[in-house]
Structures are given as structure tokens and as C-alpha cells.
């Protein structure tokens, strides 16, 4: 069998294969890969459909500035489940509606660089597709826009070959809602995910306290009322940050921009880049693209003559003046690179032309530059020695240092004429020289030493003044763009602005938790914005504790990304990891083994808001373990937990106090009784003694001869401020009241209000005269447990 003949056979196989290949539509792809969208099981599918619809409703309402009212109903139709989601949002126009529901990957959310829920999902159209695949029934959508007189009614399916909507019914209808959208889908599902569904709705309610959500499903009805009338802050879309883009994106952006120069492009298309930052980036780019120009010392002598000699056909006066000027300029600019020489020669030439009227044209200048440069670069050995010496440690022998310096100087002879090199080229040069030094002298230079030398030379080299290529030149040059991207990454740029983010804010975290959980204690913390991979993010945490929360079992963990609850894949989520790593015993929660989710009557919620939340997988249920984000989650949770700790400590000490009080309340009276028995007297009063023992604030009234004395005795160890209101049953105003005590008459009684601050261990007395004999005293400002009133 000759080689030739087998070749022909192979070709036909390839052709066969080629014939079988064709493209499939997106819809068809997703049809065959439902799990990628979160539709892998009947149970999960239902939750995902609800999630898409509710997310859209919330986003739409917020954008329209409307407080969301969302109604979710799930009806068991026997073979299928009917899902209905209705909202009071702005509605969808007749033109857009079929595309929004009938076309996959259509939507405004994907491109926007602002925090949005929609980033999380593939869109409601996936739910439509799933429904039509499992039940065969079309989606039924009713929508009415603000100001519209009637509502639009559509019944549609998705054509999976073309990824376009196929409309079965298109009509108008009357609807009692002034504006909003109603979606009805019939799909195969089961309620095994009932708890995830309920959790999803409940968590959504917690994290969106401005929304009112109702869930009706075969086994229950749930209403979540609003906790606040404040809409979340509007977010602004931001431009990308230079640290957060990839090469392909930059190439695309270059192709699309209106800017001409790189500097302009950077300032226009990116956030946080002003003129100065653009300059820094461009300088960094120049270093990479052109390399830097090595600069050397100006030789002591000979350079002036060399320059003069290079000048032809000019008067000796002019020539000398010119040469001197050049050398002076060079000495001023020492150390000098080739570019510096060009500069100096240019300036000297102009001056000479002015002073002597003789033109020093391009050729003359070129020759002068060449001559000066020649002289300068010949002079490099001394510089090399100094640089290497400074860069290496004293442990390197003098000979080794000298040897390396010598060889570096030598190797420069092979370099670019103008001694321009990129850092890589410089590093290679130093490497070669070091290797040769090793061979010749046996003196070795390790990686660190070499790196230090390279650094020293690189510092000495100067950025070249060449203009960078403009945008159109860059577009076709992939390597140049890669260098530009490297320059962007290497430059310090301010963190992106956070107007693109809308955190829930501590007050609303509080409100959300409070309305859903019957707990005794709430705390919330919102961190400042941080950056990961060029995208800004904010982490918030909230804690609810005690009350009706179940004390047995693990703490309930609520995870959110961009105000969307993450219901699945708890074990894979960074939030879970961080919370498990915190030592909760320190904050008052039981944590067997010292790690893992703690136990207790507690709810911990974590919200990560970002223009780009990093997830572990395409199902977007678990946040990826990005260190910057994990750090912030930990800090936010600890902040909220610290408040929990002080609350629990205070509660414990109040408990101990109560216990003490309870025991003493038994012992002291018994003792008093016994003592009275033994001494054969009436039982004495124990109230005052009790007050003193319990470190209480004691308020006593003494009346003598028409004068009332109210004494506040502070037996505790902190200062106390009280407001006492004494109701005196008399129609004549009490006399002798001090100025700061108000007396108000009401219904035949006088209300005296006395505000007083008493330091620890001291007392204060109010005296006044009256003929009354009935009084009623109330005290504000001290907890009941700490107060003893003895009227």
C-alpha cells in the first residue's frame, strides 16, 4: 500500500466528518443542556423559573422607581404545575415583550457594568423554553405599561432552530392593574423543592425590605410585608477598570473606540484614568514596547572635541560654541541616554542658529549626536562597575564584581545601538555576562544577585520619549496590545468608584431581618467597597438572635449575591467557608470542634454586591473563594458578631443579677423574720437593704411637717441619669421647688418633673413643701431591675 493511496482514504473520512457538522442554535444547545441554566430537575426547575421571574420583577420595579408588589402562585394541575408571577412594575412594551420572553440571551442586563440581579441568570426565556419542552404549552404573558390604556396579552413559544419567538396569540385585554406584568407558565415540576422555594421567597423578602411579596403554593400561603418605603439607591453603570479587563476585551475595545491616541483611549474608555494616570500607563507601555534607553556618565574630556570634529562646514566659532553648549547641556543632564543627546544637540543647534545665523541642519545634528553618543557609550565601564558594586552585597569579592561589570560593559557592545532594551533583554544581557564571569573566574551570581543587578541597571535606564503607536496601529498588533495590558496592570490605579453598587445598608438589613424573624436581637454591618480583579464589591452582614428562633441545631445561614438569595450549593460557597472558620465561641455561640457552622438560635446573613460576583460554577449558587472577598466577608460578620457578643454578655449579667435578686428575695425576708422572732419585735423592712445590695438606684420619700424629701441614692458603680415624675394630689401648687423642676397642673393634680444626674455612690435630694398626703412617683431612665422605689 503506497502512502499516496492511503492519503486519499483519510481525506474522505475527514470529508465525511465535515459533512456531518453543522451549527446548532443557542436554543437547541440549551435544550440539550438544561442543567447549565439551573433546570436539571423538576424540583430545581421550578425554583429557577420563580427566581428568574422574581428577579426581573424586582429589577424592573426598582428601575421604574416603584415599590415592588410581587405575587407568586404555584398551582398543582395534576400532570403539570402552573406558575404565575405578577408584579406592579413598569410593564414591557409590545415590541420588546416577545423578544424578552421568546429569545434566549436577550436582555439589557448582560452588558451593564452595574450591580444587578439579572447578572445571575440566563433570563426568563429559559423558563419559557423549559415550560414548552416539558408541558408543550405556550407561555402566557400579560403586560401593561404605565400610561397604557389596555394590557397586551401574548401566548408564545421559542423556535429552537432560530432562537426567535413564535407568537400564537397577540391581543389586547383589559386588566385591573394600572401597570405591571403577569407571567403564566405550565411546566413539569414537583414540590420536592418546596423548602428551597419557600426559603428563596423568604430570603428574598429579607434582603429586599422595600418589596412586598406573596407566595401561594399548594401547601401554604405566605405574605411578606414591606419593612421600609425606601427604594434602594440607584446604581450607575461604570466603565471597566484597567485592572479588570482581559486581552480579548481590550482588543475589542480598541477596535470600537473613537479615540485616536492610546492616552485618549485610556481616559475615555476606562474608569479612574485621568491624564496623569494615562501618562503613567503610557510610560509603562513605552518601557515594554520600545524598551528603555541606558544612560551613561559624560566622559571628562574628549567629548567636546569629538562633537566639534563631527561638525563640517561651519565656522569654527559656531562649531566651538555649539560643541560647548552640547557638552554643558549633557553635563547638566548626566547621566545621559541617546535621547538626551538628541535633545541636547537639538537645543544647541537652535541656539547656534540664532546666535550665529548658521543653520545646523539634520545631517550635522545626526553626526553630532553620533559622535557624542559614541564618546558617551565608550565611557560605560566605570558606570557598570559602580552599578554592579552598589547592587551586590559586600560578600561578593572585588574581583567578581569587577569581572561582572567588565563583562556587562562588553556585552552592551552587542546590544541595540542606542542601548535601548526591554527589561527582559536587559535581564538576558546580565545573565550572559554573569554566566561568562562564572566560567572565567568561577565567581557565581545567584538569581537574587542577578535580579538586583538588573534592577540597578533598569533604574538607571530612562523611558524613551518616542510617541507610542496610535490606536489604529495597535488594533492589528496583538503583541503590542498585550504589552499595553501589561502596562495597565502594572500601574497603580485608584480603586473603581462604587456608585455602580447598591448595598442594602445596615438599617435595611436590620429591617429585613426584623420583619421576618421574631428575634430578640439584631445587628448589621456594611463594609466599605473593595476591589477584586478590577471589579468593585461591597459585603454586608446581619445577625438575628434569640426570641422565637430555634435554639437546637445549626445557625441558619442566608447567603445573597446582588440581592438574590443563593439557595443551593451551600457547602461549596465561600460564605460558608468563612463563617465556619470564625471562632464563634468567642462571640457566644456554641461551635463543637471549634470550626464549622455554629449552633444556636441565630440567623446569619451575608450579602455580596458587585458588578461581577465570582461564582464557583455556571449555576451561580456558590460564591468563589476569592481572598479579597473572603477577607471582607469575615470582617463584616465579625463586626456584626461583636454586637451579638456584647448583647449576650449583658444578657448574662442581667440574668445573674436576676438570680441573685431571686435568691436574696428569699433569704433576706426569712432572715428578717427570724431576727424579729428572736428579738421579739415586729418584722423589719428589708426593701432598702435589698436595694443597696443589688447595687440599685434607691429612690426614697420622706415626709416631715409638710416637707417632702425625695432622695435618689445611686448604689451602683456607674453614674445614672433619671427623670422623676411626682404626682402630688393637691390643688395648691407645691412650694419651695428649685428652678429646674417643672410643675404642671392637670385635673386637680400637680405633676412635678425632676431631671437629675447622680454619680456613682452619691445621692441627690429634692425638697418641696405641700399639704398633700397622697403621691404617686414614677421614674424613667433606670431599668426596672435596677430601681427600687420606696414611697
Amino acid at each position: 500500500m503506497s502512502f499516496q493511496s492511503t492519503l486519499g482514504e483519510e481525506e474522505s473520512v475527514a470529508e465525511e466528518l465535515a459533512a456531518g457538522q453543522r451549527s446548532i442554535s443557542i436554543a437547541e444547545f440549551f435544550e440539550k443542556n438544561k442543567h447549565m441554566l439551573g433546570f436539571d430537575s423538576g424540583a430545581r426547575g421550578l425554583v429557577t423559573a420563580v427566581k428568574e421571574a422574581v428577579d426581573n420583577a424586582l429589577d424592573a420595579c426598582e428601575e421604574a422607581g416603584v415599590l415592588p408588589d410581587i405575587y407568586v402562585e404555584i398551582v398543582d394541575e395534576g400532570d403539570y404545575y402552573r406558575l404565575i408571577v405578577e408584579d406592579n412594575g413598569p410593564g414591557i412594551t409590545k415590541e420588546q415583550l416577545p423578544k424578552v420572553f421568546g429569545k434566549l440571551l436577550y436582555g439589557s442586563r448582560f452588558h451593564a457594568r452595574e450591580q444587578s440581579r439579572g447578572q445571575q441568570g440566563i433570563g426568563i426565556s429559559a423558563a419559557v423554553l423549559y415550560s414548552q419542552l416539558t408541558s408543550g404549552k405556550p407561555a402566557k404573558i400579560t403586560s401593561r405599561t404605565q400610561g397604557g390604556t389596555e394590557a397586551q396579552y401574548f401566548e408564545l413559544v421559542i423556535d429552537t432552530d432560530t432562537n426567535e419567538p413564535e407568537i400564537d396569540v397577540d391581543s389586547t385585554t383589559s386588566w385591573d392593574r394600572p401597570h405591571g406584568t403577569r407571567i403564566e407558565l405550565e411546566m413539569e415540576a414537583n414540590m420536592r423543592a418546596r423548602s428551597q422555594l419557600r426559603d428563596y421567597i423568604e430570603h428574598t423578602a429579607v434582603v429586599n425590605p422595600h418589596a412586598r411579596i406573596e407566595l401561594v403554593e399548594p401547601k401554604g400561603q405566605f405574605k411578606y410585608e414591606r419593612g421600609t418605603d425606601e427604594l434602594p439607591a440607584e446604581t450607575e453603570e461604570i466603565r471597566p477598570h484597567p485592572h479588570g479587563v482581559e486581552l480579548g476585551t481590550v482588543i475589542k475595545m480598541l477596535g470600537e473606540t473613537d479615540s485616536y491616541s492610546i492616552s485618549g483611549f485610556l481616559q475615555e474608555e476606562f474608569t479612574r484614568v485621568g491624564a496623569k494616570t494615562a501618562r503613567n500607563v503610557v510610560d509603562n507601555f513605552r518601557d515594554r514596547y520600545f524598551g528603555r534607553g541606558m544612560s551613561w556618565s559624560v566622559p571628562e574630556s574628549g567629548i567636546e572635541d569629538a562633537v566639534a570634529a563631527a561638525v563640517a562646514n561651519k565656522s569654527s566659532e559656531a562649531t566651538d560654541s555649539f560643541a560647548a553648549a552640547v557638552v554643558e547641556a549633557l553635563k547638566d543632564a548626566e547621566p545621559v541616554s541617546h535621547a538626551d543627546i538628541v535633545d541636547a544637540v537639538g537645543t544647541a543647534a537652535e541656539d547656534a542658529a540664532e546666535s550665529f545665523g548658521e543653520t545646523f541642519g539634520a545631517t550635522v545634528r545626526e553626526n553630532a549626536v553620533a559622535a557624542a553618543w559614541e564618546a558617551v557609550r565608550e565611557n560605560r565601564t566605570g558606570d557598570c562597575e559602580r552599578l554592579v558594586d552598589a547592587a551586590t552585597t559586600t560578600r561578593k569579592g572585588e574581583d567578581a564584581v569587577a569581572g561582572l561589570a567588565e563583562r556587562i560593559a562588553e556585552t552592551f557592545a552587542d546590544a541595540d545601538e542606542r542601548h535601548r532594551l526591554t527589561r527582559e533583554e536587559l535581564a538576558a544581557l546580565v545573565d550572559r555576562a554573569a554566566d561568562r564571569t562564572e566560567d572565567a573566574l568561577g565567581a557565581s551570581f545567584g538569581d537574587t544577585a542577578r535580579e538586583n543587578v538588573v534592577e540597578a541597571f533598569w533604574e538607571r535606564a530612562e523611558t524613551v520619549p518616542d510617541d507610542p503607536p496610535n490606536v489604529s496601529e495597535m488594533v492589528g498588533n496583538r503583541d503590542a496590545v498585550a504589552e499595553l495590558l501589561a502596562a495597565m496592570t502594572a500601574t497603580d490605579i485608584m480603586a473603581p468608584p462604587t456608585g455602580c453598587l447598591s448595598p442594602i445598608t445596615p438599617d435595611n438589613v436590620h429591617a429585613g431581618l426584623e420583619k421576618e424573624f421574631d428575634a430578640d436581637f439584631f445587628s448589621a454591618a456594611t463594609r466599605d467597597a473593595e476591589v477584586h480583579g478590577g471589579d468593585p464589591f461591597i459585603v454586608e452582614a446581619g445577625i438575628a438572635y434569640g426570641g422565637e428562633l430555634e435554639s437546637e441545631g445549626k445557625v441558619e445561614l442566608m447567603r445573597f449575591a446582588n440581592r438574590v438569595p443563593l439557595v443551593y450549593q451551600r457547602g461549596a460557597c465561600a460564605t460558608t467557608d468563612v463563617i465556619g472558620d470564625i471562632g464563634w465561641r468567642n462571640y457566644g455561640l456554641d461551635q463543637p470542634g471549634g470550626s464549622g457552622v455554629p449552633n444556636g438560635p441565630c440567623v446569619v446573613m451575608v450579602h455580596v454586591a458587585s458588578t461581577n460576583v465570582p461564582f464557583t460554577s455556571e449555576s451561580k449558587d456558590a460564591i468563589a473563594n476569592v481572598p479579597e472577598i473572603e477577607d471582607e466577608i469575615e470582617l463584616a460578620v465579625r463586626e456584626a458578631a461583636r454586637e451579638l457578643k456584647s448583647y449576650l454578655n449583658k444578657r448574662r449579667s442581667m440574668q445573674k443579677r436576676r438570680q441573685k435578686q431571686d435568691v436574696l428575695a428569699t433569704i433576706l425576708p426569712t432572715m428578717a423574720e427570724k431576727v424579729a422572732e428572736v428579738t421579739d419585735q415586729q418584722k423589719p423592712e428589708v426593701g432598702d437593704a435589698m436595694a443597696r445590695i443589688m447595687n440599685n438606684v434607691l429612690v426614697e420619700r420622706e415626709i416631715a411637717d409638710g416637707t417632702v424629701a425625695l432622695t435618689v441614692e445611686n448604689n451602683s458603680d456607674t453614674a445614672e441619669s433619671l427623670e422623676l415624675t411626682d404626682i402630688v394630689s393637691t390643688e395648691t401648687e407645691p412650694e419651695g421647688l428649685p428652678e429646674d423642676v417643672r410643675a404642671v397642673e392637670m385635673d386637680g393634680e400637680y405633676f412635678l418633673t425632676w431631671n437629675v444626674s447622680v454619680p456613682a455612690g452619691e445621692e441627690a435630694t429634692l425638697e418641696y413643701d405641700t399639704d398633700a398626703d397622697a403621691f404617686d412617683l414614677s421614674v424613667d431612665g433606670v431599668e426596672d431591675a435596677k430601681l427600687t422605689i420606696s414611697q
Binding site: L664, M671, T679, E685
Partner: protein, 366 residues
């Protein structure tokens, strides 16, 4: 010649009621009920030069109803006061242990004692604060007092009537068992020349069998280890009222020196009663370390605890006489201790024929 100074217990009862009244006043004044007693620890014991006995220093502990623990203590104190007052009223008496068990029947759970140590401590508190001896409360300890053998004729007030007893003729081999409150004894007649307080029962029996009390007109008092209050009280009365010199005869080890100390100077627990219980003039017969050497007695080596005890005695103010210092340092040198009964190695009669007569002559007793 004293007998019970407070036959009806009226004084004692009054003092107890006074205590209760103090609490009452504190309640009425709205004060936090409290009780201050001197701290009864080694750190608050002072050697009183004048009386030559141990007394309590100035440190006080306050039991205050401020805390749950303190309130309980005061409650128990009140209950105890009531009980003691009643007991005195009915002219009954009880032991410390009985008090502890009795408390279990009190209606208020918080007032019940958790251990006998607790009730013992409370009785001591009451003693000190009220200035009344617990014997006057009619409270008895478990441990019985000494047995006395010698030419002493006394009258004891018992609850079955008075008894006249001669401590040689009217007693058996065991001798006269002194009552818990030796103040109920009236001395009628005494032919003794001195008191010999003996630590161990074995030695006491040896002395009685050998007729030491008859031969030397000695009142042999058996201490029975660390002597009970009653024993110490009696010895003091014998010394003070009958002018009898007192010699103490114990084993030759640091614990026994302390036995001598408690007879002579007082104990930590009852330092408030040192004046009442201690006999500073009592002298130490032996076994001295010097005797161990001289008579070549059978010995045991000193244990670490013995050495520590000896060294702490060197710091003890009572033992800081030249005599004691010499003896203690000698003992540390020879690193040995010996029991008093080791004298039997020289023969059963050695102690009564030779050792004691020699020692007591040296000391001026014989």
C-alpha cells in the same frame, strides 16, 4: 475554785439576742446586714508578749448579705442563734455534729448547713463575736477531754446532780474522764505537787501502772494527741487555781512540739480564747532531741514534712528561745525523731525510774 459562772445560761442567751438585735437594727436602718469577725488564719495570729499567748491580730473578715454566699451565712447564723437561745432556755446541750444534722430539719432550705465544718465555723464566729464560750452555749465537741489520774478531789456539776470524785480512789484504771465544760468542776482538795501532761495513751498507762502518780504526787493528765479545749482549760485551771506547775511530756517530733505549743501558747482556731485556755508557764519535759542522742533511743528518720515543720518552727515566735533553737537545730542535724515510748528500749521502768525523775529534778519539779 470556780464553777459554772452562768448557771442559767442567761448571760449567754442575752449576748446571743444582742447579736440578733444588731441585725435587726441593720435592717431597719436600711443597711446591708453584715458581721465582722477577726480572720482566723495563720497570717492573723500574733504573739502577745504580755500574756505570752497567741491572740488574733487586727485583720477582719466581714460576712455581708451583699452576696448570695454572705447572705446565706448570715441567715444560717440567725437560725443558729435562735436554736442556741432556745437550747439555753431549755437548759439542754448538744454536740457540734448534732447541730449540723439538726439544721437539716429547718424549714428554710437556704439555712441548712452543707457540712459540719460549716456549722463548726459558725459556732466559732458566734463565740468570738458574742464573747461567749461555746461551752456556755451548751455546745459540745465530739472529742472527749482528758483522763486524769492523781491525788485530786473534786466536785462535778452534772445534769443528774453533783458528783464528788477523788481521782485515784473513786476511779478505775482509766482515771477520771473530764467533762466537756471543765468549768463545771469545783476543786475540793488537792495533794498533788505538779501536773504531768502526757501525749500518748500508752505512756499514760505505763505511768499509772508503775504508780508514778502515787510515787511523785503527780496529776497525770492524758492529752490524747492534740488536746481538746476542755483539757487545756482544765490544765490552766489546775495551774492558776491550785498553783500547780505543769510539765508536758510528748514524743520527740515537731508535731508533738506543737502539742506542747497549744497547751502553752494557744491554737489558731481558738486564739480568741488563748487567755482562757493557754498555760504559758507550762514547761516541756521531752522527748528532746538531746535525749535521743544521750539515751541512744531507737529512732525513725525525719520525713520531708518533718523537716519542713521543724524549719517553720524555727520561724515561729514561740520557739525562738535559745533553748528551742538549739534543740531544733540538733534534731535537724541528727535527722531523727523518736517516740516517748521508745524509752522502753531501756526497760519498761526506765521512764519512771530514771528519765522522768532526772528531767523533772533538772526542771525543779521534784
Amino acid at each position: 475554785m470556780s464553777a459554772d459562772t452562768d448557771p442559767d445560761g442567761e448571760d449567754a442567751r442575752e449576748k446571743l439576742i444582742d447579736l440578733a438585735a444588731e441585725f435587726y437594727d441593720q435592717f431597719e436602718d436600711g443597711e446591708v446586714p453584715h458581721l465582722s469577725v477577726p480572720t482566723r488564719t495563720k497570717s492573723n495570729i500574733e504573739y502577745d508578749e504580755e500574756s505570752g499567748v497567741w491572740v488574733y491580730g487586727d485583720r477582719e473578715s466581714t460576712r455581708s448579705a451583699n452576696s448570695v454566699g454572705g447572705a446565706r451565712k448570715l441567715l444560717k447564723a440567725t437560725y443558729a442563734i435562735e436554736f442556741l437561745a432556745k437550747q439555753l432556755d431549755e437548759d439542754r446541750s448538744s454536740t457540734l455534729r448534732e447541730l449540723y444534722y439538726l439544721s437539716e430539719s429547718w424549714d428554710e432550705e437556704e439555712a441548712q448547713f452543707n457540712s459540719q465544718d460549716e456549722s463548726n465555723g459558725l459556732i466559732e464566729d458566734l463565740e468570738i463575736v458574742s464573747g461567749v464560750k461555746r461551752e456556755d452555749f451548751h455546745m459540745r465537741p465530739e472529742e472527749s477531754g482528758a483522763k486524769v489520774m492523781g491525788p485530786l478531789h473534786l466536785r462535778e456539776q452534772t445534769n443528774r446532780g453533783d458528783r464528788d470524785i477523788h481521782c485515784q480512789e473513786d476511779v478505775g484504771q482509766g482515771g477520771y474522764q473530764i467533762p466537756n465544760n471543765p468549768d463545771t468542776i469545783e476543786f475540793l482538795d488537792c495533794d498533788a505537787a505538779f501536773v504531768l501532761a502526757v501525749e500518748t495513751g500508752g505512756m499514760r498507762d505505763r505511768l499509772v501502772e508503775n504508780g508514778f502518780d502515787e510515787d511523785h504526787d503527780a496529776l497525770v493528765v492524758h492529752l490524747g494527741g492534740q488536746p481538746a479545749r476542755a483539757t487545756r482549760r482544765l490544765i490552766k485551771r489546775l495551774h492558776d487555781e491550785l498553783d500547780l506547775p505543769v510539765a508536758v511530756f510528748t514524743d520527740g517530733d515537731p508535731w508533738s512540739y506543737r502539742i506542747y505549743g497549744s497547751v502553752a501558747y494557744g491554737s489558731i482556731k481558738s486564739a480568741h480564747l488563748s487567755e482562757y485556755l493557754a498555760t504559758p508557764e507550762a514547761e516541756f519535759v521531752g522527748i528532746r532531741p538531746q535525749d535521743i542522742v544521750e539515751y541512744d533511743l531507737p529512732t525513725d528518720p525525719l520525713a520531708d514534712s518533718d523537716i519542713n515543720a521543724l524549719e517553720s518552727e524555727l520561724e515561729d515566735p514561740r520557739f525562738q528561745t535559745e533553748y528551742w533553737r538549739e534543740q531544733i537545730e540538733l534534731q535537724l542535724d541528727i535527722d531523727k525523731k523518736a517516740e516517748q515510748q521508745a524509752l522502753a528500749s531501756r526497760g519498761l521502768d526506765f521512764v519512771t525510774d530514771t528519765y522522768l525523775p532526772e528531767r523533772l529534778s533538772e526542771m525543779g519539779f521534784l
